[in-house]
């Protein structure tokens, strides 16, 4: 009986591995595709230049050098990461349809959710590596600007890391949104939709303020509905900036932000898989 249960357990594990292997294969292929693209390296070099430019600019200011380096460095990383997330994400599914490489995938025992998840994880991993590499350069410029005491430097590295982790979480949401849009629209439209989604995400708090101004209850409800449906990225940005300058949020807010973004990503990926399931190949 015990042996039977053990063999049943092995079967379930093997089945799970069988379901995940195509996901990993697609993720690894997407990672190779993005990481072997020369454009990504160009952006990376650009981010490094921005970091060093911050160093030069910082040296011209009095007493604000570290702040300038951190602001400019973070701006470079989040902007370059965002550009890659939007443009690569918007092409994730469409490129497979346009180049007809999807025929290779969907004539194999691969389900649409495996394809969507694999593409997403591949790009997410690529961005993680890229952000980590850019973070190394930012840390280096911070060290060059103010080597200071080891303890203080270690603390700064922790702040940079935590802040970049939130930047990465935001980019994970942007990739999911771009991938979702790319399941049913052209890359140009996906880019437009994703940028709009991102922009709205940073302005949703205004919707709540707006709802208070409406006297019409239907408009009030609509503004509230949009506020609760669209992502709220403003809190994330505020928290990220606070961390950068040494103010860690309480654990409740950290858990809330992570759970909020992860839930959003899951919903977008599920929707992408549903659209792919319904869509007929060209």
């Amino acid at each position: 009986m015990e042996h039977c249960a053990e063999s049943q357990g092995q079967k379930v594990t093997a089945k799970k591995a069988g379901l995940l292997l195509p996901v990993f294969a697609i993720a690894s292929n997407t990672f190779k595709e993005v990481s072997r693209d020369k454009v990504v390296y160009t952006f990376f070099v650009f981010a490094v230049i921005i970091s060093f430019f911050g160093l030069a600019l910082g040296s011209l200011s009095v007493g604000q050098d570290l702040r300038i380096i951190l602001d400019l460095g973070m701006f470079g990383i989040s902007t370059i990461g965002g550009i890659i997330a939007v443009f690569a994400g918007a092409n994730l599914v469409y490129k497979e349809l346009e180049k007809k490489t999807c025929y290779l995938i969907f004539t194999k025992p691969v389900r649409p959710w495996q394809f969507i998840l694999g593409k997403y994880l591949g790009l997410a991993l690529c961005l993680l590596v890229l952000i980590a590499a850019m973070a190394v350069f930012l840390t280096l410029t911070v060290y060059i600007a103010d080597p200071g005491q080891l303890l203080v430097f270690k603390e700064r590295v922790l702040f940079i890391g935590a802040s970049l982790l939130l930047t990465y979480l935001e980019l994970l949401l942007i990739i999911a949104a771009a991938e979702f849009f790319s399941t049913f629209s052209s890359p140009i439209m996906s880019v437009v939709f994703t940028i709009a989604f991102w922009f709205i995400g940073h302005s949703t708090a205004s919707l709540q303020d707006l709802s208070k101004l409406f006297t019409n209850s239907a408009l009030q409800q609509l503004a509230n509905f949009l506020y609760w449906t669209l992502p709220d990225l403003k809190t994330l940005t505020q928290t990220r900036s606070a961390i950068m300058y040494g103010q860690f949020p309480n654990s409740e807010l950290s858990i809330y932000l992570t759970a909020y973004l992860v839930s959003y990503v899951i919903i977008l990926l599920v929707l992408s898989a549903m659209v792919s399931e319904k869509r007929e190949l060209p």
């Binding site: 195509p22 294969a25 690894s28 190779k32 025929y103 004539t107 194999k108 025992p109 007929e280 190949l281």
Partner: protein
């Protein structure tokens, strides 16, 4: 073996498919096709450009959904994973990831079937040898010629050692030597008892390789016969006359 041969690898009943032009005009791409192909048979679907040959293959693979009729492939509805595990597909002008090397491409294809480790790498070694691509395996597919892509596409179609093989214009882009090699591969697969369904414009290849042929014209199967009953000598000219007499003007 005989009992196995009598089973239908592909069974299509009253297949109908509507498609749209770029101007969103709907037309009947496939109109009431009936097909029954026994296991172990090499079937050639011939027809002029736009007759619906590629659409038929896409329907059989489950890439397109039929608007009417029923498709059974290896006893399962088209596109079902249990059947797809036993199917190999070489598309017309195979589509590749130009950032991958030939070996990486085959590894990726194998992994989609759930294959991994030394078993997959051994299989890839065999296939690269079969299609004479061992010395190009570490180069990116973006640098390959059309003939090399076709060979790699054939290797990818065979990675799972399929029972049923769909070949869409398998000789397309190949030079005479490449065509001869491809013919040898198909003959070897026939000898192993594989079922092969292929579309081709090249009637000499169809005459040489097929057991049965069907003529598709304007989405209709206008004729279907055993090849040897059309031309016992496998003569391409006789097959051409047969083809011309069955296509609709």
């Amino acid at each position: 073996m005989n009992a196995q041969l009598s089973q239908a690898a592909i069974k299509v009943t009253n297949l109908v498919k509507r498609r749209e032009t770029k101007l969103l005009k709907s037309f009947l791409a496939i109109s009431g096709i009936n097909l029954e192909i026994a296991e172990g048979v090499t079937y050639g679907l011939i027809g002029p450009n736009g007759a619906g040959k590629t659409t038929t293959i896409k329907l059989l693979l489950g890439l397109l959904k039929p608007d009417g009729g029923e498709i059974k492939v290896l006893g399962k509805p088209a596109g079902e994973h249990e059947a797809l595990r036993r199917i190999g597909f070489l598309p017309e002008s195979p589509y590749f990831y130009s950032h991958l090397t030939g070996r990486e491409y085959l590894t990726f294809t194998g992994q989609l079937f759930g294959m991994q480790g030394p078993a997959l790498q051994n299989r890839i070694g065999e296939l690269l040898h079969l299609v004479s691509m061992e010395n190009k395996a570490e180069e990116r597919t973006g640098t390959y010629s059309k003939g090399m892509l076709q060979r790699l596409g054939m290797a990818a179609a065979l990675v799972n050692d399929p029972d049923l093989l769909f070949l869409d214009e398998p000789m397309s882009g190949l030079d005479p030597l490449g065509r001869m090699d491809m013919r040898k591969i198909i003959i070897a697969l026939k000898e192993k008892g594989k079922t092969i369904f292929f579309n081709s414009h090249l009637l000499p290849d169809v005459a040489h390789l097929c057991d049965k042929v069907g003529v598709l014209s304007q989405g209709k199967l206008t004729a279907e016969d055993d090849l040897l009953s059309i031309t016992p000598e496998r003569n391409a000219t006789v097959l051409e006359e047969y083809f011309l007499s069955h296509i609709e003007a």
